[in-house]
């Protein structure tokens, strides 16, 4: 990368020289050279910088400030750390955090293991109709969360839902998927898993196809069995993508909002209330912007800490 600048500089000099020898106006090439090396990159990033300043940097700082104030709507007064103290003693916040954490530790590993299985199957040369299956498993991730939520709120209906009907064919009694606290969590996990497994599987498939065949051939010559090959070649080679999917899924799950909002509204008995949903309720139902911002910052802190931890744990040996 560092060689780019001198190279380009020499080219512009050359073109300037050529322009002069052809008796062209001297001003034009020189002005162009100036544009190239000076202002052009700044002009190119200008829209991004403006948007970044207005819609990312300013809100991040502003949110921190708002989290230190109380009052409703725009009528605010400084309150120090009051919102954060309130947060620590708010049982509902802890419930929301616990729900979110529970979904995180159950759903993310489950989904990523499933995705890896699907990817391994898709990657096998012996499978027929591979493009069709790949397409099919990817399709759910194209669906909007609201559309998926609405669809599953009916599929998971206790009395006449499709899932209970399919289960009844196997002699399983009707499950109250969205109506009882425990099953509602399972229901939310099911829907998220349905939604994102295929997406992750296609990412893993990409990773699998990038592994050099020679590695497997060499391992087979050395007499390594399929299980040994999986743990000694496949998993280590997939590490960057595994890391990416773990981090992305963690960030996504910690911000979970749409699915429980549409499926259960956070109920029953707050069993599926998530942190973002609690933030939304405080900010846009009760208009307590200060408290909602404190929740946002607490969430940002948790996301960053987990993200950094994951990169440390999984990314170090690269």
């Amino acid at each position: 990368m560092s060689s780019v600048l001198p190279e380009r500089a020499s080219v512009t000099e050359k073109s300037a020289g050529r322009g002069a020898s052809a008796h062209a106006g001297r001003a034009r090439p020189r002005r162009r050279a100036l544009l190239t090396r000076g202002s052009v990159p700044y002009l190119l990033i200008m829209p991004a910088v403006l948007g970044f300043a207005i819609f990312k940097a300013y809100p991040i700082v502003s949110s921190l400030w708002i989290s230190l104030t109380t009052g409703s709507g725009t009528d605010r007064s400084f309150a120090g750390l009051a919102n954060y103290r309130r947060l620590l003693n708010d049982p509902l916040f802890w419930t929301a955090l616990k729900n979110t954490a529970l979904i995180l530790v159950v759903q993310v590993p489950l989904m990523l293991c499933l995705a890896l299985l699907v990817a391994l199957a898709l990657n096998s040369a012996k499978v027929w109709l591979r493009p069709l299956w790949r397409l099919g498993v990817f399709v759910p991730s194209l669906t909007g969360l609201v559309a998926a939520g609405v669809m599953f709120s009916v599929i998971l209906n206790r009395d006449a839902g499709l899932l209970n009907w399919v289960l009844s064919l196997f002699g399983v009694d009707r499950v109250n998927w969205l109506g009882s606290p425990g099953w509602a969590r399972v229901g939310v996990v099911l829907v998220i898993t349905w939604h994102y497994t295929g997406y992750n599987a296609v990412m893993y498939l990409a990773g699998l196809q990038g592994i050099p065949k020679e590695l497997y051939e060499a391992a087979m010559v050395d007499g390594a069995g399929p299980i040994r090959r999986f743990f000694s070649i496949t998993l280590p080679q997939l590490r960057p993508i595994l890391l990416l999917t773990v981090v992305l899924s963690t960030i996504g799950t910690l911000q979970l909002f749409d699915e429980p909002y549409v499926l259960t509204g956070g109920g029953p008995d707050n069993a599926t209330l998530t942190v973002t949903m609690y933030l939304y309720n405080n900010g846009f139902k009760y208009f307590d912007f200060g408290y909602a911002s404190a929740i946002a910052y607490a969430l940002a802190l948790i996301v960053s800490v987990l993200g950094i931890l994951q990169v440390r744990l999984m990314g170090e040996r690269r």
Binding site: T12, K56, I66, K126, T143, W194, G283, S293
Partner: protein, 272 residues
């Protein structure tokens, strides 16, 4: 043993396929039923004759045409804008040396780990102050800068040989011309992939429009669908039809541009 693994894996994948696609089949069926038949036991597994009736019902209850138009305008403009911003910035980060380049790039990427929910309240206040709540602008503007898009374009454009650009410059092309005549055509597939990703996210976005939109005639499809479902007199056949209508355009786009889509996913996932 070895010869048996093919059929077994195929069967396994067919099962996964059925689990993934099955709900859509059921959705399509349910959207053609009368409301009371959506919740029949056993569930109806063949199409009913009420598709047009449900469509008319949706037009009455949420103003389907207007809502679809809103969604299309918001997603279209947002996609176009975000792609332009990303290509310009990605090109600068990939092919130019300038002061502050690395610092700004790192700043930009670091916002990826900050949850979007942090921005909700300040951006809401900003839009209130500007009098933009309940407008297209309030939905479109915040989505124009996508760190992911800029990152994706930078990765893609970096692998373009400098010789190609320099050759054009030597021939007397200005920077805009180089961008328009070389950079964009050469990278059309990845730009298409980016456009798809942005469109998908924009078409389906929910939380922010839910907050920023007030009047039902400004609603986008996901917001209208969700509010419709919240009513006590919900007509589920109609709600499901709305969900289906939301899903169809993105699936059609995906089918047409499948190759670009997957290559974009791979570019984002595998490049350093």
């Amino acid at each position: 043993m070895k010869s048996r693994r093919g059929p077994l894996l195929t069967l396994l994948l067919a099962g996964a396929f059925a689990l993934c696609v099955g709900p859509f089949y059921w959705l399509a069926i349910a959207a053609t039923q009368e409301d009371k038949d959506v919740f029949s036991w056993p569930p109806k597994l063949l199409p009913g004759g009420h598709f047009l009736e449900n469509l008319r019902g949706l037009e009455e209850s949420i103003g389907l045409t207007r809502v679809l138009l809103n969604t299309l305008v918001v997603s279209g403009v947002q996609t176009l804008g975000a792609v332009v911003v990303s290509v310009l910035a990605g090109y600068a980060f990939a092919k130019f040396e300038f002061r502050g380049r690395n610092l700004f790039f790192v700043l930009l990427l670091s916002t990826l780990v900050i949850p979007d929910t942090v921005m909700l309240i300040p951006v809401f206040q900003m839009m209130m102050d500007l009098g933009l709540i309940d407008s297209y602008q309030s939905i479109i503007l915040p989505g124009l800068v996508t760190p992911f898009g800029i990152f994706l374009m930078r990765q893609a454009l970096r692998s373009m040989p400098d010789e190609l650009l320099d050759a054009a410059r030597v021939d007397g092309a200005g920077e805009l011309r180089v961008l328009w005549r070389i950079v964009i055509p050469v990278n059309r597939p990845i730009i298409a992939a980016l456009a798809l990703f942005v469109f998908l996210g924009s078409w389906n976005q929910f939380v922010w429009p839910l907050i920023a939109l007030r009047s039902p005639e400004m609603y986008t499809l996901p917001v209208a669908t969700a509010t419709l479902q919240g009513l006590s007199t919900t007509n589920y056949a109609q709600v499901l039809l709305a969900a289906g209508i939301a899903a169809v355009p993105v699936m059609a786009l995906f089918l047409v541009l499948q190759r670009q889509f997957i290559s974009g996913l791979l570019a984002g996932a595998t490049k350093e």
